[in-house]
């Protein structure tokens, strides 16, 4: 064998032209097949699928949502009081938490690791810059830039996803189109469809117009104890329980008395540089940006040791949220570089609204260890729950028009706490 390996002369000769041509055809065929892997549905939108190297497919085969809930359960267990300071200090040492800035500072007051993970910061621990856009969270800037003309956002350099897939697609037209959308997705059955139609809501009413529903016996809600009435309470009751793809009016927690609330709303309106009668354009996905404007994106990654509550990045009004139930892959930079469509596959809550320059959207994306997303002003929202998963790309939508009459949404000041991520 050694002799054959060393003494056999190498004889080079040209390949026949046909073999070269065949090779080129094979390469072209492979390229074309890869391009065709982008599946388009009947409405011309890309169908989101798991794409990436083999490690990604192995991850995709794991019951990550179950792992996440189990992880949440384990971390909600109460720890012995004597163990808490040692355990949390060890965790802080391992993940780089700064214990000097947490409130309360006494580690024994955190019953479980889950509670410690969702810790608060001392007042004034984070000075707020006077810039148009400030960071909504502690973390690492993964990526930022301008959204390209074909509405694709860069996940990392070279890997993109469509803005529609991240935020959801707004169907144009009448209330029928909203309900029709549900029927198309086979989520709401005929009876539920009839119930929704029986109330005869217009689209404006359904997404937060000023008039009341047109059903018999309906009464206009009145103001009670300083709480702002929600004209869509009736709608919310009739649409309960939530179904995927439905649009409901979220019940919003009132912020103190009416005077405080008005002062808060006015502050946001002044920050936004607008009068209460806001122009309502450009708030639905930002496809029609104002002349001279562009769409921008920024991705912030929160590592396990970071403070996990998120705050408002600017003065803006949240008009609606769309809850997409999805996978719970890790969103670490390692996975983000390998798993295409990561942010549109994972469970997420798209909060959509407007700021002084037009459309503004903020999307907290869940992950395996932090599958639960809380939004302080949305008591209806439940994430990472057991049950049947809806088809990818569908979402439950809630509107916040009842939160502020003058701003037609949930007003937020820069750095105001909005919610956070919880373990599991």
């Amino acid at each position: 064998l050694m002799n054959a390996w060393t003494e056999t002369p190498t004889k080079w000769y040209p390949l026949p032209l046909a073999v070269g041509a065949l090779l080129l055809v094979a390469i072209q065929y492979r390229k074309k097949r890869r391009a065709q892997e982008v599946i388009i549905d009947e409405e011309g939108r890309e169908v989101i699928r798991l794409k990436g190297p083999w490690q990604v497919h192995v991850l995709g085969a794991l019951p990550l949502r179950n792992f996440s809930r189990l992880w949440g359960y384990v971390n909600s267990l109460q720890l012995p009081v004597w163990f808490r300071p040692y355990g949390y200090r060890l965790y802080s040492f391992a993940f780089g938490c700064n214990l000097d800035e947490i409130e309360p500072a006494d580690l024994r007051t955190y019953p479980s690791l889950g509670d410690f993970f969702y810790r608060k910061l001392k007042s004034g621990a984070r000075p707020v810059d006077n810039a148009a856009l400030v960071s909504p969270a502690d973390g690492t800037m993964l990526h930022f830039g301008k959204v390209q003309h074909d509405m694709r956002v860069e996940q990392v350099k070279g890997i993109t996803y469509h803005l529609d897939a991240l935020l959801g697609v707004e169907r144009p037209g009448s209330p029928t189109s909203v309900v029709q959308y549900n029927r198309d997705m086979s989520i709401v059955d005929d009876q539920e469809f009839a119930d929704i139609n029986g109330i005869e809501y217009t689209l404006d009413q359904l997404i937060g117009g000023s008039s009341t529903p047109n059903s018999p016996g309906n009464t206009t809600p009145t103001e009670v104890d300083g709480q702002r009435p929600n004209p869509m309470d009736h709608a919310a009751k009739n649409l309960a329980p939530q179904k995927f793809g439905e649009r409901i009016d979220a019940s919003v927690e009132p912020k103190g008395n009416l005077q405080d609330t008005l002062a808060h709303d006015t502050e946001v309106a002044l920050e936004m540089g607008v009068k209460p009668s806001l122009e309502r354009r450009g708030s639905m996905g930002g496809k029609n940006v104002r002349p001279g404007n562009s769409l921008f994106f920024a991705v912030i990654y929160l590592a396990p040791g970071d403070y996990h509550r998120f705050h408002s990045p600017t003065a803006w009004v949240v008009e609606k949220r769309r809850h997409f139930v999805g996978e719970l892959f890790s969103v670490s930079p390692y996975i983000a570089k390998r798993l295409e469509n990561l942010f549109v596959l994972n469970e997420r809550v798209a909060l959509l609204g407007r700021w002084k320059h037009g459309f503004f959207g903020m999307v907290p994306v869940g992950a395996t260890n932090v599958g639960s997303i809380k939004v302080n002003f949305d008591q209806e929202l439940r994430t990472n729950v057991r049950g049947k998963r809806p088809p990818p790309g569908t979402y439950t939508e809630a509107v916040y028009s009842g939160a502020s009459r003058i701003l037609q949404g949930q007003p937020l000041t820069p750095a105001e706490e909005m919610g956070g991520f919880c373990l599991g």
């Binding site: 810039a131 856009l133 502690d138 912030i300 705050h311 750095a415």
Partner: protein
Amino acid sequence: STIVLVFEAPSDFEFTVHPSQKVKVGQRLGDV
């Protein structure tokens, strides 16, 4: 966990951070 911001702004909007930079709540990310 991750937070994605998508927003409309004047075309001369500029980010004042760089990729992989650590940021804190309230820190300037960008301005017009």
